[in-house]
Symmetry: C2
């Protein structure tokens, strides 16, 4: 089979994939814009992509394409009309963000509990100050908005740190690694219980601007709010107000409504916020993990018994 | 029994202890210097202390003292001569540091891997900079110098984060939560293997100045060195040299040879070091945990079947 990729991994990773499938040909390109890359794509049986370089007309022109392996979780830019017409198999890399995102969350919870900013400031002042009171995660309560695969990974590690875990999912059904769950109908009741609140919610009609001013007031004053889902969960001016009013103690935001956040935006200057530029899911292990899923799927595609992972329903689009 | 404490816990904690032992009298003082406190001590059956307020003459004068419950791990300042002569039982609070110290270690490993300082600096510059490369703990190798209770707690959590764990203990015997162990005879062979090295070693003849210039050179250039044991593990000028030469990438030091570190000390100004003022073992849960051990022991002292925890051998002194 001819396998064409518009993603150029390291030589080492290319080698690993080739060695697993010696009877197939692999061509790796950096993007699809070059003539060689595009011609290869037109003849490919399998195409590997981040899912942002295809138009309807490309799907029409592709002569042999039977499977598109998207190496990300987002499929918003995929030309599904043509894909459906040609009944092309689509898979994605759902699930590979959970490790870096769980590390990010535990890291910043510990950053807060251990007062790392305060000690850093004292180091700048050359002061050996033992009076800064630190906290523990142990015995604290974590609320995860979005108790799915990523939320579960965060909860799993938090439980090992001795935290109580509460999850919110659509139905409120029990979920692994959560001591308690709430549904989207009564999620507000969970807000006063938490010492740390992390949202991994995607952007949906039901989650857009879900968190309002009143919700911040329902939280403990000492609460830490972490958003690694989508920025439109809360309007930035409402977040700023909650931080300035000290309705909450601190926010760690990896996502904001206006990405990239402009230099002139007032959020940068709020005292009790930590901003990171939508990097919680980034990892040097991203592509190795994505190619692990691909290799697993290619084995099965070629006849090894088993089930392919992350097959996308062309009707639902996820 | 008359139980006298030179530690003054919160009213809530006092209440909890009293309720468990309604037939005994508890007197809590802030220190032993006050006349009331000292007179109470002289008649006490059981004395609760941080272990730094007793002299030989106090032991002589104490009329009824049968048990000293030291609420810390350090016993260096205890007047063991008189204690031995009177055969007074001594217990300590060994083991209650492992949770905060494990949180500290995981927190600062994540601080490094997630480049929190770099993102903090970019926030100061109001720059949304997605090009700062972050790392994962997952797949990295942790070397723990001192694979005991605290080291094991660190290794346990690190394994859950997908790290490989190597431990050094006296004999090199296998230890729970460690994938591999080295003895004090061949510990240097472990140095090149590690991405993170944490020392929890106490100050002993065999550990003083254990880490020399050559050892930093044996480590990976990218290694992160964390010292939460004792500061005399490495001479500070040797550490500074290793940091300035980039023999190692970064050091997180909670302990130094000269505590408190003077304002004029050059270590404060080294670029790739993070200094905290010997606080890794501190926790708001410290006293509750120490009194948990005390209550367990008091039940058994009063006749409930079971074994007392952390009984000190008066001959060995630990």
């Amino acid at each position: 089979m001819r396998i064409v990729s518009s993603i150029l991994p390291t030589e080492e990773l290319q080698q690993q994939v080739r060695e697993q499938f010696p009877e197939d040909t692999f061509e790796f390109y950096k993007g699809l814009k070059g003539e060689d890359a595009y011609h290869a794509f037109l003849e490919a049986d399998v195409f590997i992509t981040y899912g942002e370089d295809l138009e309807e007309q490309d799907i029409e022109r592709a002569r042999n394409l039977k499977w598109i392996s998207v190496m990300s979780a987002g499929l918003e830019k995929m030309p599904f009309e043509g894909i459906k017409k040609k009944d092309i198999l689509v898979t994605n890399a759902r699930g590979i963000h959970k490790t870096p995102m769980a590390e990010y969350t535990l890291g910043y919870m510990l950053h807060h509990a251990k007062r790392m900013d305060a000690f850093n400031q004292e180091q700048g002042n050359k002061k050996w100050n033992r009076r800064i009171p630190t906290q523990e995660l142990s015995d604290a309560t974590l609320l995860v908005l979005g108790a799915g695969a990523i939320g579960g990974e965060i909860a799993k590690r938090s439980q090992l740190f001795g935290m109580k875990t509460i999850g919110v999912n659509t139905s409120g059904r029990p979920a692994e690694y959560f001591d308690q769950t709430f549904s989207m109908d009564n999620w507000e009741e969970a807000l006063p219980l938490a010492d740390y609140i992390v949202s991994v919610l995607p952007s949906l009609e039901t989650t857009k601007h879900l968190i309002q001013e009143k919700h911040f007031k329902q939280m403990k004053d000492s609460v830490v709010f972490i958003n690694i889902g989508r920025g439109d969960l809360v309007q930035t001016d409402i977040l700023i107000k909650a931080l300035q009013n000290k309705d909450i103690a601190h926010a760690y935001v990896d996502v904001v409504e206006e990405e990239p956040l402009d230099e002139s935006h007032p959020l940068w200057s709020v005292e009790n916020v930590t901003i990171t530029p939508h990097i919680s899911g980034k990892s040097p292990l991203y592509l190795p993990r994505a190619f692990d899923i691909f290799s697993h799927n290619l084995h099965i595609y070629k006849g090894v018994p088993g089930e392919m992972r992350n097959v996308i329903s062309l009707d639902r689009g996820y």
